[in-house]
Symmetry: C2
Subunit: 669 residues, 2 copies
């Protein structure tokens, strides 16, 4: 997701609307399978349900803090438009073939027992989308439904349970929390049930093939099923139908065994189709995940969080677990906002908002990529910029990625005008998601520990709630330029321009009554103390949280690693726990498929960088930050991840040894 202002839409890409979805899905799967990379974008009903966005994004958040804030205050919004654009390079024509899809998604309740999702809307976000011509009718009337893995499992179980009941070969089970569950026939229903039993007796004796009972209540139907179940379901087929007046009634038919099996099979098929429809949009995400392809987004942290949260399962409490889950769903991510913010781009790109970035990347030294769109796909016209929808944003994001990737080729000897999405040159940008408005940590490192910038020039100041920024300027007026990052009404971080002033500030404040100054290190220490006391799991829990990047890459994947970890170290909410246990083989399957794909890509990538050994300036810079060297064996990555992880654990004991950050990201917001 990105935030910007554009004109209202004038057209639609393929794939919108629930009715077209079934038709679009095979085309989408094909597009994903043949793609070199996939660009995505999401639109939400809001950003922050708690603090203002400025409080949500404190400039000195740690990555863990930021993740927790976003998880707590953003996940209750709905991702209701998902754009996806596939890009496939055509070697012969030297152009990219693009296929753009724009999906409206909405958690339409599937049946009476399916979850009735509640989501928050923020009026400013809704108003912004409205001003861009967003079609709310399309999303609410014909948005595509979706289910998480857990919800799908539950629904499947419901079907199986019901089937078992009707066949008379399962125990009588009760739907949880339904006051309708009965084994006992209430007094006032006994006469009614008796007449039903009589009718069935008659049917068994006479020559009719079936009997239609009178329309009755759901409770009565339940009683009838139960009664027939416990007696003589063998030669009978019992079915609920609807008459012209939309009233439901039960039809009981005499069937032989073969007919009964046939009907059951038909029903099972129908149910499987219903189930597929209910899983709906989640199948798109599963197809993308299964492909293992590079997924590109712009400022994509919230897009990734929402995508996983809605279509895979609730995002975990801890950042490290989120990273693990994300890498198992999307093994290769590139964030174009982050890419544009670091070397070698940051010197020549000054505004990294999507619209501005796209404008910049069609000018020198960049080159606008040539694209073509197959006939049956709606093409987007970038020159008119008439569209605002996720499909368009995904398309533009892909274009930006190609321009920047190709620019990297100009550093090679000889220069190359096309750089593949699988090129080793792109590895330094892999799996680093842009962190909005953090002063000294430009990105979340999805496949390893995060940067640990020195913050020894930062003070943590608490004060009366009447204080304003000007009071802080006043207080520190002797210290030259300062930077204030508000935390809440009564506290803020104050960054001094010179670290050696920190002790002076603290000394002068020692006897102050209205305010209090601590070093950043003291602040973090006291926070960690309070967090440790609040933790529900053993204090040695950290030792268990080994970052299983290796496991992830070798196919054990999301569901396994994740559930094992959780069940060991802490009590979690029942729903999450259940989800992890129930998670069927599909993700594991996706992961093993991914493994193969990744290997294939790896060799291709090596071919790509042949001749790029001459060290290029920006590559050197990247290396310092723990990025891959070109030519480094790809299989090393998991091991590196593990080593870094250990390093991180050490750091909390001895913060001083952490190397200073080498990044110097321009403040582009």
């Amino acid at each position: 997701m990105h935030m910007g202002f554009r004109a209202p839409p004038a057209g639609r890409a393929a794939g919108s609307g629930s009715a077209h979805f079934k038709e679009a899905l095979p085309r989408l799967c094909e597009a994903v399978e043949e793609a070199d990379f996939i660009a995505i974008d999401g639109e939400f009903t809001g950003i922050s349900d708690g603090p203002s966005v400025s409080a949500l994004t404190n400039g000195l958040d740690t990555p863990e803090e930021r993740y927790c804030k976003l998880r707590k205050h953003s996940m209750n919004f709905l991702l209701f438009q998902f754009g996806l654009c596939t890009f496939k390079y055509d070697q012969n024509q030297s152009i990219y073939i693009t296929k753009a899809f724009n999906f409206y998604v909405f958690p339409k309740p599937f049946n009476r027992t399916s979850p009735d999702i509640k989501f928050i809307c923020q009026s400013s976000s809704i108003d912004f989308l409205a001003s861009q011509g967003f079609d709310f009718n399309k999303v609410f009337r014909s948005g595509i439904p979706y289910l998480t893995q857990e919800e799908e499992s539950q629904l499947r179980e419901q079907y199986e349970e019901r089937r078992g009941q009707i066949n008379g070969n399962g125990p009588i089970t009760y739907t949880p929390n339904s006051s309708m569950s009965v084994s006992h026939v209430p007094e006032d229903q006994r006469a009614f049930i008796k007449t039903v039993e009589d009718k069935v007796e008659d049917l068994l004796k006479n020559s009719e093939k079936s009997v239609d009972l009178e329309p009755c209540t759901g409770f009565q139907r339940k009683l009838i099923y139960q009664t027939l179940n416990s007696r003589q379901s063998k030669g009978l087929h019992v079915e609920t139908l609807e008459n012209d007046k939309k009233e439901r009634f039960i039809q009981i038919s005499k069937v032989d065994d073969e007919e009964r099996r046939r009907r059951e099979q038909q029903k099972q098929q129908r149910e499987q189709e219903e189930l597929n429809d209910a899983v709906g949009f989640s199948r798109v995400i599963r197809a993308v995940s299964k492909s293992g392809k590079l997924v590109v987004g712009h400022n994509m942290l919230l897009d990734v969080m929402h995508t996983i949260h809605q279509f895979c399962g609730p995002v975990p409490e801890e950042l490290d677990d989120f990273k693990e889950v994300t890498m198992s769903v999307f093994p290769r991510l590139v964030d174009t906002k982050l890419m544009a913010s670091i070397q070698p781009f940051k010197e020549i790109i000054h505004n990294t908002s999507l619209g501005e970035l796209h404008k910049r990347l069609i000018e020198k030294p960049f080159k606008s990529p040539q694209t073509e769109c197959p006939e049956n796909f709606q093409s987007y016209d970038t020159s008119s910029e008439q569209l605002h929808e996720a499909g368009y944003d995904a398309y533009i994001t892909g274009l930006c990625f190609i321009s920047m990737a190709n620019y990297l080729g100009t550093f090679l000897t000889p220069p190359k005008s096309h750089i593949s999405a699988r090129s080793k040159l792109l590895e330094p940008f892999y799996n680093k998601l842009f962190l909005m408005r953090v002063i000294d940590i430009p990105y979340l490192n999805m496949c390893g520990p995060d940067l640990q910038p020195k913050r020894d020039h930062v003070l943590y100041v608490t004060f009366p709630k009447e204080w304003k920024t000007c009071d802080l300027y006043q207080l520190f007026s002797a210290f030259g330029n300062i930077q204030v990052s508000w935390i809440d009404d009564t506290s803020a971080f104050v960054s001094l321009s010179q670290t050696d002033q920190v002790q002076i500030a603290i000394n002068t404040s020692r006897y102050a009554e209205s305010y209090r100054i601590q070093t950043y290190a003291e602040y973090i220490q006291s926070r960690q103390k309070s967090t440790n006391t609040n933790r529900r799991w053993a204090s040695d829990g950290w030792a268990d949280t080994s970052y299983s990047a290796a496991a992830m890459m070798t196919g054990s994947g999301f569901s396994h690693g994740h559930s094992r970890q959780h069940s060991k170290k802490r009590s979690i909410s029942p729903s999450l726990e259940e989800q992890n246990c129930n998670a069927d083989s599909s993700w594991t399957h996706y992961c093993s498929v991914k493994k193969i794909k990744t290997d294939g890509d790896g060799s291709q990538a090596q071919a790509d960088v042949s001749g790029s050994d001459g060290a290029v300036d920006w590559l050197g810079q990247q290396t310092d930050e723990g990025g891959s060297y070109p030519g480094q064996d790809q299989e090393e990555e998991p091991i590196r991840g593990k080593r870094n992880r250990k390093h991180k654990k050490r750091k909390s004991d001895d913060a001083e040894t952490t190397p200073p950050p080498l990044f110097d990201v321009p403040q582009v917001w």
Copy 2:
């Protein structure tokens, strides 16, 4: 609000859309002023954000419990369509003139400092409205904004503050929570401010009339205003304008005093208009409130709660306070669902859902009222039932009210075919709002204490969370028919058919380990204990909560009575407190206007019931429940309210003396 299923809409009533609102408002005010009564209906984005609707509406809720649940779990939804239909009887033609309005409302943020409202959507509710053809684009793109009293006051203050600053005649104040507030010019801005000061010096010396500064940031503009303010605003007019590129810049003009005053006046006028636009839909509710007219709704408790919550101010914590607020906003309410559920209608009306009720009321012994709709108002066609929108529902609700009111006239000697909305015959139905799914309390009595049904045949049972309804049937199998009302996973009310079995049940349960049985009285007592401990105000707080019905009726109204009470007895959230303090004279004003209207209506009503002294069956029944006798002096009502209040206070000490309920409402859901 009512819940039902109807076909998609085929037309629109007058008044929808923000653009048409300004034009519609005077017509609406006129319609309200001339109306005999006003019917309303609202559509929301959801019903319950917490428990399922069945848990939200336990059959044995006390009125206080129900109110608290609705307040907690329903107020976060948005009322986003408001229907209003005025009915005026034309004596000459013997028909009702109807004017229907259908408003889409949406809390579009007014400016950057205005509240960014978050609201919850429930997918089942959204899906239901979508299936009825609800136009979400209309609501989100051109919904009419609104403000509560408090929000309006805040906005007005903002304007005044800003005006004060610009005129240089107020203190420099800071917008709360804005990190932009400064008195100190930061180092890096000093050169910039110096150039501005130089330009102003030049302007004052040369013959130019004005100077345009370069476009600059909001922060810089703030600094400029501040600098000019503190020096020489007298002969200068400072204004922020926008250039072709939508960049903001400051224009400084030399003006004489008269010119400056003229400009200020113009600006003030513009601001007043902006303020009116921002108050938007709330003006409709104020007009209705000011009129003091009878307001009719169908199952209207949530409609009333939402209307007050969104357009007047947050609904109070306590039911009694809510009643007081409601009566000050809408002094006369009639709920057609309640009306249809009690005597003399309950025997002849078996389905009280709005659609079914309307169908019933056009058949004998009822008579469909004749209506006419003026030319410039869209008329609704009830025979095609093509519309589903709040305006249509309001219209239908009004028709139902008229049919039932006229039916009362058949009991008079001689019978009357038209009964005025002001007739004394309707008084027994005043201010009683239907309570959904409460077994033994049919309504919330808005102008006095609620019914206190005997519940000595009810048991409170707690048990392991694995238990289902069938386990409870099992447990009580010796006691004949029982009725189970689930409270949560581990508790339920069980109503026995015979009160004398209660002690037996309790005795037999004494040594049970897995479950526990208490009488309803014990349950209530233990609840009250725990509530008392949790209370933030003095335990003698109840003594303060004198129900000021009398005060309400004599014009002291909402803001006064309410804020006085609150500030005395408890700490409340700042926003609510502020609201009560800030509440300007408008509500009080409304109340005094209402007083006059009410008096006027009173005399008319007396004229109406002349000749109705022959006691009619249903009237007698009503009287037993504390309804008014026909011919009873209307001014007595407040006094009766007070007496009943005392009675209620006594009840908590001695529940046994409470008379048994006389109502016997059919279970129509």
